[in-house]
Each structure stands twice: as C-alpha cells, then as structure tokens.
C-alpha cells in the first residue's frame, strides 16, 4: 500500500488535468475518488483490539486486496461502477470525471506493493503487482509495523516521488491556482463552506490534504528511524533498518496473493492510466450535453 503518495496524487491529478478540463473538475471529487478504496477496505485491515480480543481481518492482505474480500474496492471496475452511479445521480461531469481520475490514481499506485491490486477484475482475480516493496499489514504488527516497513523501503521513495511531482507543479498549491482552477470546478461547495470560512480558511482546507501528506511522511519516518527500538531476530535496533532494495525491507515477511508476472504490470498499468485519461477526455464534451439537459429539466421542475 502507499501512504502519503495518496495525498500527493490528489494534487498531481489536479495539476495535470487535460487542457480542456482545467478549472472544471472538482477537487473534492478527486480527493474522494482517491480516498474511497482505503476508506472502504482499510479499517478492517488493522482492526481494533478490545480487552485483548482482536477484531479485524484474519488475513489482512486477502481482505484488503483479494477476492473474496474487499479487494474489489481497489479495482478500476468498482471505480467505474461508482463513477456511473455519480453521473446517473447528479449528471455533474466535474464530480464524475474528478472521481474517476482520483480513483484510478489510487488503484494504479497500489500495484507497487507485493500484494498489488486486481487490475483486470472481473475478468480475472489475479493480482497485478510490481513487488516494489513488501506489503506489511499483519495481524500482529498492525499499523505500526506497516508504517515502519513502508518508510524503510522503496515505499518511502514512492512518497518522495509524488511529493516531487507536486513540488514541480508547485503552482497548484498557490492561492491564485486555487481561485482560478479549483474553485470554479466546484463553486457551490466552496461558496457553501464560505459561509463559515474566509478565503484563508478555504485555502487552508484545500491545502490541508497536502499538509497531512507531508507531515505523516515526516512523522512516521521520524518515529520508525529515530524513536522506535524494534527487536529484529533477537537484536535490538536503534530504529528500523532501511532497505531500499526491490521487495524490501528484508525484515518483513514478503506477502503475496496469486498474481500475474510482474513484467507485464508496469506496461499494463501505464496503458490503463492512458486509457482512463483517454476515456475521460472523450466523454467530457458529450457529458456537457447531458449535464445541460439535466440542468434544464431541473429548472423546469422548479
């Protein structure tokens, strides 16, 4: 799984929208699209322990990404279904396309860990994984081991990569960008929030996901490498050891699900990303017609 990368990619998607969609896609929809897979699946991955009894998935990897399990929440198929539902409900292309792009970004980023995602669901339930770093959510280790493992492996590099992508497009964090590109994509939501918050507050809301991403990256890394004193193979370490090799870190069990050969995963993921952008680009203009007629019929009903 990816950690802060999921926060950064919201801004990366917003900053790299196709030209004709600039200023017209909902940032909230991108956020919710990116957020949905883990919102649906992750709470039970770690579970909760009450009075010594653990409530949660007995096989976190199977539950999170597999089938049967909540792995469907990390499939493009599910994202497309929800996207169709949003369009059928609201006839709002800013939300429909934003949600689709955010969701796709999450699903495609998650192919990097050793469990991967079921990219071709429902045609096959095989996982598509690059095995870049080890999936480390376990019943005994919980969230802490997962975080320590991620921020000791190439997962940390993945977070840094997405951070750099956002920083290269740093204008997407400015007040000017927010006013000209983000607010027009979602004027009703921002003006509704504007009842309570002034522009500085609204801008802070927009930047808050990025803030959370940066801070959690630093905080988890600091905890894992400075504060924690793990015992690995009977040896007390001052911080979890870094292992930036493929499949790392070595001190975590390498969990996998039945999967396709990793060699085809990167080209397939890139092709799917291109496909999603192509489809979004193609249906964008047609959706304008549907949205206008829906708005007209709404006005007539009033």
């Amino acid at each position: 799984m990816s950690w802060a990368a999921h926060q950064f990619e919201v801004y990366a998607v917003e900053a790299h929208l196709p030209k004709k969609m600039v200023g017209q896609v909902s940032w909230f929809a991108i956020f919710f699209g990116d957020f949905t897979p883990d919102f649906l699946a992750k709470f039970w991955v770690y579970g909760v322990t009450i009075n010594g009894h653990h409530f949660g998935a007995s096989k976190p990897d199977q539950w999170h990404r597999g089938w049967p399990g909540m792995g469907i929440s990390h499939t493009l198929f599910f994202g497309i279904l929800v996207t169709i539902g949003i369009w059928a409900w609201k006839r709002n292309r800013a939300w429909t396309i934003g949600y689709l792009l955010g969701f796709a970004a999450h699903v495609l980023t998650d192919v990097n860990d050793s469990v991967g995602t079921m990219l071709m669901f429902p045609f096959t339930t095989l996982s598509w994984s690059l095995h870049t770093w080890a999936y480390a959510a376990t019943v005994s280790g919980g969230k802490y081991l997962d975080a320590a493992s991620y921020y000791s492996s190439l997962g940390f590099v993945m977070d840094l990569f997405w951070l750099v992508v956002v920083l290269v497009s740093w204008r997407c964090l400015t007040r000017e960008f927010w006013r000209t590109n983000v607010v027009p994509g979602d004027p009703y939501v921002w003006s509704w929030l504007g009842q309570w918050f002034d522009d500085r507050g609204l801008l802070a809301i927009y930047r808050s996901v990025f803030f959370y991403g940066v801070c959690r990256m630093i905080a988890w890394s600091a905890w894992a490498h400075i504060v924690a004193r793990p015992v690995i193979n009977g040896v007390v370490h001052h911080g979890y050891p870094y292992d930036l090799s493929w499949n790392g870190p070595w001190w975590v069990k390498h969990v996998t699900l039945p999967h396709v050969t990793p060699l085809i995963v990167l080209p397939a993921a890139l092709m799917l990303l291109g496909f999603v952008y192509l489809v979004a680009n193609t249906i964008w203009d047609r959706m304008a017609v549907g949205q206008s007629s829906a708005n007209a019929s709404r006005k007539l009903r009033r």
Binding site: F211, Y212, A219
Partner: protein
C-alpha cells in the same frame, strides 16, 4: 426617547503574509512533534483539521476575543469566485 442602534464591527483585514507563514509552519512543527509520540494523531481527519485549526481557527479565536465578527461577511466579497458553475 433615544434611538439605539447596534453597530456591527467591520470584518478585519487578513493578517500579513508573514503571520500566515508562521501559522503554517507552527501547524506543521506542532503536528509532527506531537504525532511522533501520539501516533493516533496521524489520521486523515485530525491532520487536515489541525492545519485548518491553526491557519483559520487561531485568527478566528483572536477575532472572537476582540469582539470582531468571526464569520466572513455575506455578499460578493464572501464568495471565493464569481464564476458560474460549468
């Protein structure tokens, strides 16, 4: 008979840029500092709320103490953008 009218204090201008920078930096340093030791703070709700609480909440609290309006004024100025939805 004397006519009394409640005069509403005007909404204060936004603080200078350096105050904003300080608030953002304060939010980041405090959030990272606390969450390293209290890891439950590293949550997708707490994190964003922490920033908004610092950047918007602290100045709002100061306005409240000074009996200035906390909510932004209604009208064209309150809308963040004048563009029509597309």
């Amino acid at each position: 008979m004397t006519e009394t009218r409640r005069t509403r204090r005007p909404y204060p201008p936004p603080p200078p840029k350096w105050v904003d920078v300080l608030l953002y930096a304060g939010a980041a340093v405090s959030y990272i500092g606390f969450s390293v030791y209290f890891k439950w703070l590293l949550d997708w709700i707490v994190g964003p709320v922490w920033l908004v609480a610092w950047v918007w909440g602290i100045p709002a609290l100061i306005r409240l103490v000074r009996h200035q309006p906390v909510r932004p004024p209604r009208g064209p100025r309150s809308a963040p953008a004048s563009e029509e939805p597309r």
